[in-house]
Every structure is written in structure tokens, then in C-alpha cells.
Symmetry: C2
Subunit: 202 residues, 2 copies
């Protein structure tokens, strides 16, 4: 039940336009140089519209980043085709490509700096990261049920083996973020936690 | 052939005293608050002695860090008892303990900040890191020769699986840096690159 004079559809269109504008502007000019004013102009809305929905520039930009990993219902889910290796490769290749993309890089480095002095933003980011981790853990658990991962695999450790090397290469620029690297990480992590081979009785 | 009036032994003693003083002071007061003057006073030498050997405070502190991983000949080598798993656990436990130690943490975070605007220091650190990586790769190669690691294991990938999760936990404070975590990383990496089981002919 909405009491707003705007239709939900028109609101959603404005919201999208604002997030797209925020993302594009940060990519073009860098986080520090973009203001709410510029985002409003680019999105074709008034500043008040932005402030009605978000308390700060950091909050808008953060939501622009979060929107990248949500489906149309605002849910985070990982693909589950029944083939854990294929699904993880898809996801890790996408993560590697994101990290390797200068546009994404500009967004994340800008946000990271902002989080250092914006506790609310840091908390929101933390929450988003936790939701992402949950979705990943769920996909691993389903693989475990399908017998593609050892029943006593430590799923958090599997996630660290998959993501920490990507993260380190990105942060320290110690190696290329390629689909091949993503594939080799998935293969190594799955070998490390493969279910024990069936042993037939003598 | 030394033309100095100091004996090499006395020089070495001063060098040690300076490095210890630099390390202790940074740990006690933080990198930014420690000057060459204070290091000289604590080490019981003149400022000129320090400047004769090092161009800057960053260089002294960096050498203090480097000294932690060198043996008495200034060489970096990893233990090689013939048991790759045991040796790696020893090394990774030590790394985890170092990362978990607030003193080491203060040293490294101070240096990292300094490197952002001291290219010479950054280059020296890079070189040190490369030497460390070489030593680690050598140990893995010897394990490979001993049949404890698959002959076609990608040793750089093995190192990333071992160290990236430690690094990420340290940087982002996402988990405890314990001996148990170190052990589980070593076990996972070795399982991922275990030599193929011997298959007997039918």
C-alpha cells in the first residue's frame, strides 16, 4: 500500500537511473570528484529524490555496487545447475573479470577509502559481504549433498582458498586476473576437498 | 680488506644494536613517532653511524624486518628435513604467529605506509619479497623431487593457496591467525597437488 503520488514503477525507474548514474560517474571521474548534484543531473532527477532514499553519496555508490550482484528481486543467489565445478568456475570467472575491470576497481577503491571514515557505510558493506558469503556457502553445501565435495569439508576454508588468491592478486597486483586463473583455483580447491574415493571391500 | 678503524666484529655489534633499537621503538611508539635520533640514542651510537649505513629511517626499519627472516649469513632458506608437510607447517605457523603479533603488525603497517611515498624502500621490499618467494619455491621443488608433490604442480599456485588466505585474514581481520589454520592450509594445498596414486597394472 503506497501513499506516494509516484507509481512504484516510476520510482523503480528513477532508482535505477540514479544507481546507473552514480556508477558511471564514479567510473569516469573517480569517487572523490563526484557529488550528489552531478548524480542527480545525470539521472534526470532532483537532489531531493536522492536524499529521500539515501543518506549520503557513499550510500548511493554502495547500493550501485550491491545492485551488481543482486537479481531482480534483490536476492543474492549463486547458479546451481547440479555441477559444482562448472558453477564455481562461472562465478569465479565473473569475480576475476570484475576485479580486472578498471571501472569496478574505481568503484571499490573509492568505497574502501570512504568506509574508513563512514561507519554506517562500513556496516552496510559488511552486511552485504555476509549475505554474499552465505549464498556461496549455500552453493557449496548443495554440492556437498550431491557428493561433489567431501562431507566433512570445512566450507569456510574452501571459500578462503577460492577467494583469497583472487583478492591478493587484485590488491597487490601480483598476477593477472584471468579466467584461466579462476579455473585453476576452482580445480585446486575441489581436489583439496574431494570426497574420498569409494573403497571396495577386499 | 677493511680500512675502517672499527673491527668488523664491533661494526656487526653496532649494526645489530641499531636494528634491535629500530624494531623495538617502532613497536613501542608506532612508525611515525620514531626518529633516527631516538634509534641512535637507544642503540648507543651516534646518528652519523646510522647515516653511514642507511639513507633513511625507512631503510633501517626495513632492514630490521628483513633481519627477522635471514640466517646468520644473511641468506633466506626454508627448513628442509625431507618431510614437506612438516616443514611447511613449521614455516606457515611461524608466518601466522608473526601476522598475529601486534609488534610485527606495527612494523609492517608502518613500512607499508612509508612505501607509498618512498620508491627506494618499495623497491628494496619488493626485492626482499622476491628472495623469500624464491626460497619457498625451492623448498617446494625439493618436495616435488622427493615425490611429495605432483610433478606438474604449479608451484606459484601452491604458494598462493598457502599464503593468500593468511594475508587476507591479516589484512581484513576476517579470522584468527592460529597454528591450526596454518596446518589446515598446508594440508589442503598438499591434497590439491598430491602426486597421483600409483595405479597397479590390471
Amino acid at each position: 500500500m503506497t501513499t506516494s503520488h509516484r507509481s512504484p514503477r516510476r520510482s523503480e525507474r528513477s532508482r535505477r537511473a540514479i544507481l546507473d548514474a552514480a556508477r558511471d560517474l564514479v567510473v569516469e571521474h573517480g569517487y572523490a570528484k563526484v557529488g550528489i548534484e552531478a548524480i542527480a543531473t545525470r539521472a534526470g532527477v532532483g537532489k531531493q529524490t536522492i536524499y529521500r532514499w539515501w543518506p549520503s553519496k557513499g550510500a548511493v555508490v554502495f547500493e550501485a555496487v550491491r545492485a551488481l550482484s543482486e537479481d531482480s528481486d534483490g536476492e543474492i543467489t549463486l547458479p546451481d545447475t547440479g555441477d559444482l565445478e562448472a558453477d564455481l568456475k562461472l562465478v569465479l570467472r565473473a569475480t576475476a573479470a570484475e576485479f580486472a575491470d578498471p571501472a569496478f576497481d574505481a568503484l571499490i577503491r573509492g568505497l574502501t577509502t570512504e568506509m574508513a571514515h563512514d561507519r554506517e557505510l562500513a556496516a552496510a558493506y559488511e552486511e552485504h559481504t555476509a549475505a554474499l558469503e552465505d549464498a556461496k556457502r549455500q552453493r557449496l553445501r548443495s554440492g556437498q549433498r550431491a557428493g561433489q565435495l567431501s562431507p566433512d569439508a570445512d566450507l569456510d576454508l574452501v571459500l578462503e582458498l577460492l577467494y583469497a588468491p583472487l583478492f591478493r592478486r587484485w590488491l597487490l597486483r601480483t598476477g593477472p586476473l584471468t579466467a584461466d586463473f579462476a579455473d585453476r583455483l576452482v580445480e585446486a580447491a575441489l581436489r583439496a576437498f574431494a570426497p574420498a574415493a569409494e573403497v571396495s571391500a577386499p
